[in-house]
Symmetry: C2
Subunit: 508 residues, 2 copies
């Protein structure tokens, strides 16, 4: 069969975020192709795109070409459409990735070429994994990181503002219960500043800010809608996935995730490209230290903070960093409903886990100083006053209303999963730091973040005194089986340890 | 839906060499899974294997689980069989790969764990690419290479011999027309030595030794059959793919290929594990230098040779290396029939491209010295004498007969593709080195190695004098279209340049 012969397109409904075709083995051999080679796929209308080759013996017959959904949609194909398949060479950015493997420093246009190829879905998982591994081992210079950041910004939406200043805040994550944003953002907006905050959903954590906010309002808004809401009420608390800010980041994260890799240069570019794209002029980065966070030592945290500040300068986003304690959860609640309820109670002045109040108002304080609303060193006081006065609660409700939720929402409306169990202490003593990773696993086993009512409440934080029989933990779930799963896991992982006890006694 | 609920297995006929399942998106979300996570798949008979998750919205419905062929076959499934899918953690070797990324040196048992996981198909393309990239950048110590080699040997077949010595020879490749083995192996075997040679098929080259030998006999033989033939006639010229020698190598090559990476440690372990597995006690490695080969400078070649010798010592295979000129093709023929015909002509004494005779007899000479049939420095003379006497031809025919071919085969029986064209010189002058990569591309365009009769003959080698109008190149093909494709490509690539001409003249 001739490479110039038309083949019938057959839709293969597997979405990998890469453009791929599935060829009959014999067809591939005739074209001299093997898995991971490239072909140009040409549609009847003459549109053509490069795709990666997969091979099958039966799923696609001779005379057919399997087209995976990503490519199918890009070429606007219909079942039975004719397509031509022509062998083609590999994208140039593979040689550029090889350069980094061999220790070379990239030029600006080389980074742009790689980012563009990733954005177009031209690189396979193998090539992306080589990219991430090479960047992890051979690192990037600050110039490379700057070029990477601006290249990433240029692949997606950006928002231009007529007002100024535009503020933003971001936590590099890893700490469960980190629900500062629903408190920090309203405090800043209540002081007349503009803060269009976007957040992620949970990937491996128990609940992202977007999962939490979704309990009380719609979080999916596009760039136009974000701009409108922020101009109307001063701030947003939306899902970043609703707007395509530096979308190339998602493709990179997809391969970082299974490798548990987070190359420094990539973290910096990933965070700051989204801030630049949203139009931020001032930004505060929260860097938590502790078990399960991205940064282990204060020294590493300070280095990372300096990198963020330098990168911010280079791309025109004035940045300050807060290094925070992440050795145990922020506040006591983990899971969407439980977390937004805890944040609302803080806004309502009804409950006060001090770690949550301290963190939210500290971050808000830096933002208020950057935005010119407070003198240096006085921001946190203003933030606390804004919280105490009820203005932050009022602003939060305005934001919820503007995002399509009930503007009269109160913590009393929020009811966690109907199934719950307590986990009592087996001894008297003082609480050691609750274990972040174990708590996340237990909350997820209970159904969080998909089951909004699932999660857990820590009854004590580190250093507090507990008596035998008192509950250490209450787990909530929306169904009984998941509650049982979570209870079993908690028994196994023992996420909260009580110290000060004799662990064993030697008799005689 | 419950993770303990049985799902109907649906066969997904895509073979990637990895165990994979395809889950409905909703099902995956319920289980808290995303692409590249792991699940344990349990069959009705209670067999279970770990697999990688892919996600679809329609190809697999709720209540079904798509099972890719590799896993399908491993679990002996039938359509509609019930399977259970249970989320499970990642294999430990991912953390070991992360260790290499962070510059750590592996222990023996860590390398064994990684190799076993690759062999079991437990690692995804992303993880394998990270492995290869990390090994390329952070390199392996000689101890690590030794452990890698022995771990690779242990994953496949091995042959134990009652006789001694067992010899082997291997070229690390990159030079087109490298048809030494059908001459070297018979010379060695004709001197009463045992040389069970296995070869590869072409991947990106024009023709592998296995493709060439397949013209005259069956090349697919298992370990038992190799042993029987080698004991009967002293040597084999078979395809390595017929026997599973260090099969884990194939999985690694699959990701090295798209990245064009060939980490030193991996090359050494890959070659020597196959030699150890076949039971070789003595081995000669041919390291060609020149355009398109794996090694560019003589210095690199010497270093690599030292590594081969040291690794050979550590695993008990006494090794010598020959650094050879690979700057142009060996002999003049490229393509299966053309190459075996050229080799047969040398064996018959009828034709003599000196480069092919020199290379074949030099390598045979070293083997004869290692095997105790010639004194140091006298092996090549004995090899030439064996060739001249006709004993090598006789032995070649015995091997062909033992491998199921016509034991009376002669070069006159071998007819290349019926379509051919010549490529005349446009000027008088001396030939520059023919370009390896361009020649390979042209031979492949003509249909090699799949079309056995396709390929090309170089009419002149480097330094020879050509007159205007004389043919530089004859291209053969089995069909007209491919001949045209090859001719067009040859016109574009100009694989043979004629020097000594004025390229331009300045008038006035």
């Amino acid at each position: 069969m001739d490479s110039r012969t038309a083949h019938k397109a057959k839709r293969i409904d597997i979405a990998q975020g890469i453009r791929e075709v599935l060829l009959n083995k014999e067809h591939a051999e005739e074209l001299g192709l093997r898995a991971n080679d490239r072909v140009k796929v040409v549609s009847e209308k003459g549109e053509s795109l490069v795709a990666l080759v997969n091979v099958t013996e039966t799923l696609v017959k001779m005379g057919e070409v399997g087209v995976y959904v990503d490519l199918w949609n890009s070429l606007n194909l219909k079942d039975g459409d004719a397509v031509h398949v022509v062998p083609t060479s590999r994208p140039a950015s593979i040689d550029l990735i090889r350069k980094k493997i061999h220790g070379h420093i990239w030029h600006q246009e080389e980074i742009k070429a790689i980012v563009d190829d990733i954005c177009l879905g031209n690189l396979s998982d193998i090539e992306l994994a080589a990219y991430v591994t090479a960047v992890q081992i051979n690192d990037l210079t600050m110039d490379e990181i700057t070029w990477l950041t601006t290249a990433m910004v240029s692949t997606g939406d950006t928002i231009d503002w007529e007002t100024s200043p535009i503020l933003d805040v971001h936590s590099i994550g890893g700490v469960p219960g980190n629900k500062y944003a629903p408190i920090t953002v309203p405090i800043v907006a209540a002081n007349g500043l503009t803060i269009p905050k976007t957040s992620s959903r949970a990937i491996s954590s128990a609940a992202g800010t977007a999962d939490i906010m979704e309990v009380v309002c719609n979080v999916t808004h596009d760039a136009q809608s974000i701009k409108r809401i922020a101009r109307e009420v001063g701030g947003t608390l939306v899902w970043g996935g609703g707007v395509t800010l530096a979308p190339v980041d998602d493709s990179i994260i997809r391969v970082e995730y299974p490798l548990s890799l987070d190359p420094r240069g990539q973290v910096l570019a990933s965070v700051m490209s989204k801030k630049k794209a949203i139009g931020a002029e001032y930004c505060v980065i929260d860097i938590p230290i502790g078990e399960g966070t991205k940064v282990v030592t204060p020294e590493e945290a300070r280095n990372l903070a300096r990198d963020f500040i330098m990168l911010g300068e280079k791309i025109g986003v004035r940045t300050r960093c807060a290094i925070t304690y992440g050795g145990q959860p922020v506040g006591k609640a983990i899971g969407p409903i439980l977390e937004i309820r805890e944040a609302l109670r803080v806004l309502e002045g009804a409950e006060s886990p001090s770690s949550l109040i301290e963190k939210s108002t500290s971050l808000a304080g830096i933002l208020l100083e950057l935005g010119g609303r407070a003198l240096p060193g006085r921001g946190a006081d203003l933030a606390k006053e804004t919280l105490r006065s009820g203005k932050a609660l009022e602003k939060f409700r305005e934001i919820v209303g503007a995002q399509g939720g009930d503007a009269n929402v109160s913590s009393g409306d929020l009811v966690p999963g109907e199934h719950s169990c307590e986990f009592p202490s087996l001894r008297d003593g003082y609480i050691e730091a609750p274990r972040n990773r174990a708590l996340i696993k237990i909350a997820r086993a209970a159904g969080s973040p998909k089951d909004k009512g699932a999660g857990l409440i820590l009854m004590y934080k580190k250093g507090e005194r507990v008596e035998e029989g008192e509950p250490l933990l209450t787990i909530y779930a929306e169904n009984k089986r998941k509650l049982e799963d979570a209870r079993t896991l908690a028994g196994k992982l023992q996420p909260v340890q009580v110290e000060g006890m004799i662990l064993g006694e030697v008799v005689e």
